[in-house]
C-alpha cells in the first residue's frame, strides 16, 4: 500500500519454483519404483532365482534388442492413448473407465473406413480419414456417458463401465454376424493399395509392430498438454476438475466442460485403435483392446495426469508387459502382472506421503 506501483512492480518475483516442481514430479515415482523393485526382488527370490539375473534378462529382452524395443514401443503406444484419455477426463474431475470400449470402437471405425476406401486412395488422404473415423468411434462412445451425466446426473463411472459391455457386445455381434472372415473373429484385411501396414513403413525395429501410431501418440500428448495448460478451454476444464463451484462462479458452464472432456477422452482412446488395426494387424479383431483400456487408468495414475508423465508411464508399463515374455523361462509371466499391481499400489500409497515429506523438509530448509 505504501510503495508506488512502479517500485512495487520491480519487487515482484516471477521466478518459477522449478526445483520444487521437478522434485515433486520426479522423486515420488522414483521412490515408488524402488518399493516395487524391492517387492519384485522378494518375489523372484521366492522362486529360487537370482533377481540380478532376471532383471538382466528383462532388460535384454526389452530394451536390449531392436525387436524387443520395438515391441515395447508398440505396446506403449496403445497405453499412451488410453492413459491420455483417462488423464484428460480426470483433469475435469471425471473418471472414464470406458477406455476398453472406446479403443475398440475407434479401431472398428478405422477398419471400416479402411475397408470402404477405394484402392488407390493416396496415403495422405487415407490415413487421416481412418484416424478421424477412429476418433469418431471413440468419441461417440465417450459422448454417451457425457450426455447422461450432464442431462440426468448419471454417474460417469457406472455408465462407462456398463457401456463397455454394451459396446463390446455390439461390436462382437457386428463381427461375428456380418463382417468376419470365415473361421475367425476378425474383419478382412484392409487392402494394401488403400493403406499399407504402418509397421512396414520403417524397418528400424526389425519386424516388430512399432509403427507410425507412436508419433501420433506423441503428437496427441503434445496437443493435450497445449490444450490443458495453454488454452482457455483447458483453463476452464482444469478449473471444473479442481473446484466445480468456483468454476461455476467464474461463468464456466460445468455441464459443457463435462460434455467436452468425456467426449474428447473417448476420441483420444478411439484414435489409439489405429495402433493395432492400421499399424499391426491391418484388420479389426474382436477383443484386441482387452486390458489396454483398464491399464490406461494405471498409466494415468502413475503418470500423475500429466501428458509427459503419461508417456513415461506407458513406456514403463509396456516394458513390464513385454519383459514378462522375456523372463518366462525363469519365473512365471504372471509375476509381471503382480509387479504391475505392486507398482500401482506403491505409487498410490507413496506419492502423497513422499510429497508430504518433501514439503516439510523444504519448510525446515527455508526456516
Amino acid at each position: 500500500m505504501t510503495a508506488t506501483p512502479a517500485a512495487a512492480r520491480a519487487q515482484i518475483i516471477t521466478r518459477a519454483p522449478w526445483r520444487e516442481h521437478a522434485e515433486e514430479a520426479l522423486i515420488p515415482p522414483l521412490v515408488a519404483l524402488l518399493v516395487a523393485a524391492i517387492c519384485g526382488d522378494l518375489l523372484i527370490l521366492s522362486y529360487g532365482q537370482s533377481p540380478a539375473a532376471v532383471y538382466r534378462l528383462l532388460l535384454e529382452g526389452t530394451w536390449g534388442n531392436a525387436y524387443g524395443f520395438g515391441q515395447v514401443l508398440y505396446k506403449a503406444t496403445t497405453l499412451a492413448f488410453t492413459g491420455l484419455a483417462v488423464s484428460f477426463g480426470l483433469r475435469a474431475g471425471l473418471f472414464n473407465i470406458g477406455g476398453e470400449s472406446q479403443l475398440a470402437a475407434g479401431g472398428f471405425g478405422a477398419a471400416l473406413t479402411g475397408l470402404a476406401l477405394p484402392v488407390g486412395t493416396p496415403l495422405i488422404l487415407a490415413l487421416p480419414l481412418c484416424m478421424i473415423a477412429a476418433g469418431l468411434g471413440g468419441g461417440v462412445v465417450g459422448a454417451v456417458p457425457a450426455y447422461l451425466k450432464t442431462k440426468f446426473g448419471a454417474h460417469e463411472v457406472i455408465v462407462t463401465i456398463m457401456l463397455n459391455f454394451v459396446v463390446l457386445a455390439l461390436l462382437n455381434w457386428f463381427i461375428a454376424g456380418h463382417l468376419h472372415v470365415p473361421e475367425t473373429l476378425h474383419t478382412p484385411e484392409i487392402h494394401a493399395g488403400v493403406l499399407p501396414r504402418l509397421a512396414d513403413l520403417s524397418s528400424t525395429f526389425h519386424g516388430s509392430a512399432a509403427n507410425l501410431a507412436l508419433i501420433v501418440a506423441v503428437l496427441v500428448a503434445a496437443a493435450v498438454w497445449f490444450y490443458l495448460f495453454r488454452a482457455r478451454g483447458g483453463y476452464e476444464l482444469r478449473a471444473v476438475g479442481l473446484q466445480p463451484d468456483a468454476a461455476e462462479y467464474g461463468g464456466i458452464s460445468v455441464g459443457r466442460v463435462w460434455m467436452r472432456a468425456l467426449t474428447f477422452s473417448g476420441v483420444i482412446a478411439g484414435i489409439g485403435g489405429i495402433n493395432y488395426v492400421l499399424g499391426y494387424k491391418h484388420y479389426y479383431e474382436d477383443g484386441f483392446a482387452s486390458g489396454a483400456g483398464f491399464l490406461g487408468i494405471a498409466v494415468a495414475l502413475v503418470g500423475r495426469n500429466h501428458p509427459i508423465g503419461v508417456l513415461i508411464a506407458a513406456f514403463f508399463f509396456a516394458t513390464l508387459s513385454q519383459g514378462g515374455l522375456a523372463i518366462h523361462a525363469f519365473v512365471p509371466k504372471q509375476m509381471m502382472d503382480v509387479l504391475q499391481g505392486v507398482v500401482i499400489l506403491a505409487v498410490a500409497m507413496s506419492v502423497p506421503e513422499v510429497r508430504r515429506v518433501l514439503r516439510s523438509a523444504r519448510r525446515t530448509r527455508e526456516a
Binding site: P5, A8, R9, T14, A239, Y249, G250
Partner: protein, 512 residues
Amino acid sequence: MSEAIKLERIGKAFGDVVALNGASLEVQSGEIHALVGENGAGKSTLMKVLGGLIKPDEGRVDVNGRDVTGWSTSDAIAAGIGIVHQHFMLVPTLTVAENLVLGCEPKSRAGVLDHRRAAEDVRKLSAGTGLAIEPERLIADLSVGEAQRVEILKVLFRGARILVLDEPTAVLSPPEVRELWAVLRRLRDQGDTIILITHRLDEVVDLSDTITVMRAGKTVARIKTADTTPAEIARLMVGREVSLSAGKRVQPLNQSAPANSDQGLVVRNVSVVGSRGIRVVDDVSFSVKPGEILGIAGVEGNGQTELIEAIAGLRSVAAGQILVDGVEITRHSVAKRHDAGLSHIPEDRHRRGLILEYTVADNLILGVQKSFARNGVLDNDRILANASEDISSFDIRPPNPILEARALSGGNQQKIVVAREMGRQFSALLASQPTRGVDVGAIEFIHQQLLDARASGKAILLVSAELNEVLALSDRIAVMYRGKFAGVMSSSDATEEILGELMIGARKGNAA
C-alpha cells in the same frame, strides 16, 4: 428441583482457535433451557463436550451429580443424554421403525430382525410422547418436520431423559414449529430435561424456562425467562463492547438523483426455493442506486446466501425479476451477468472465489478468462502483467504471481478475490461477507476499496454477519429474517440494538 447438568468453566481450543473459554451451563432437571448466542459463540461445541464427542481442555462436567468429565459418546448415551443434530442422521432407504431400532434391534429366535415388535415398540413410544408417526413409512418419503420427529423419537427410544436440540427449527415451517413446541412441553411435563440451542429469540421467549447466553466462547448470563425481555437478551447476545462510534459512519453522498431510476441493481419480488422445498427467499424487493451501499444484516441462514446466489446466477429464482442498469438478467448465465455489469465477491472464497491449486495470476483472471485469450489460447504475458499490477495495487503478499493461491494467508487470498472483482468493468457489486476471516489490516483495506467503488458510482449490495461492518459502510440497511426483509432503514437511524432485535425476530420492522 435438582441439577441435571452442570458444566463448569469449560475451555477448548482447536489449534490457535479458542472455541470455549470459561463456558458454564447449569440446567435443572425437568426444565426447558435455552442456550443462545450468535454463530460461532460456542453453543454447539459446548454441547459436543456434553455429548462426549469432544474432550474439554479444562473444566468439569457433572451429570446428575456425577463427575463425568471427558466421558465418551457411549457413556453419554448410557447416562440418558440424547442429542438431536441439526442435520438429520437417518438412513433414507429404511423405514421409521428400522431407523429407530438401529443398533439395538429386537430379534426373533432365529436372529432375524423382528419387524412386528419393532413397529409395536415405536407405536407405543409414539403414542406416549405425542410424536405421531407411522412406523412402516420410509424415511425418504417423510417431510422435514416428520424426519425431525423421528430424530427425537430415536433419542427417546434409547432412553434419553436429557434432550439436546441443535437449531431444531432451522428447516421447519411455522406450523411444524408449533407442533414441535407442543411435543417439547409435553416431554418437559413428563419430567424430561430439554436444552434448546438457537439464535432465534422469539423461540426462546416462547418456550424456555431459563436462558443461558453465550458470546465468544464464554457464558455471559444465566437468566430466568420470566425476568427478562427480548431486548435484554439481544443486547447480551450482540454485546455492548462492539459498539461503533458514529464518526466512523459514511456520510451520505450528496448526489443528484440519477435521471434513469433503472440504473444500479433492481430486485423485484424475488423468491428462491431451497433444497428442502421451503421458500428461503420470500418475495424480496429492493434497489441499490449507483453510488450507494445497501447493507443486509441478519443472522446467517435467513436467506442472505440464497438471495446473493440468485442474483449472481448460481441459484435459480422461483419468481421475480433482477435487473442491472435496466437490463433484465433474471435468466442469464453467470457469464452473461458479468457482461451486463455484475461483479461478485462470494462469501466462501475457498469454495467459490478461488481455485486454491491455481496460481495467483490464474486466479486473478477467473471469470474474465475470455478477455485474456486470443483464438482460444491464453496470453500468459498479459495474465502475468495483470497479476503484477493487481499484486502491487492491492498489496497482495507474497508478491509472487505464480505461487499457488493455497500458499497465501486468508487475508491475501481475499485480496485476490477483491482485486479481481473490483478490477473488471462493472456497475453493480455483490459483496458477501467481504472481510470474513481476514486480518485487521486487510479489513480496513477492503472497506476502503468498497467505499472508493461507491464514490465512483457503483451500486453495492453488502451482506455481512458483522453488524459493525454493515453499520460502518452502508447508506441504507436492510435486515433479513426468515427469507424476508424485516426492516429497511437509513443507516443514520440504525443502532446495533434495533438491528439486533430485527435480526432475531424480536421486533417488527417496516418492511419497506
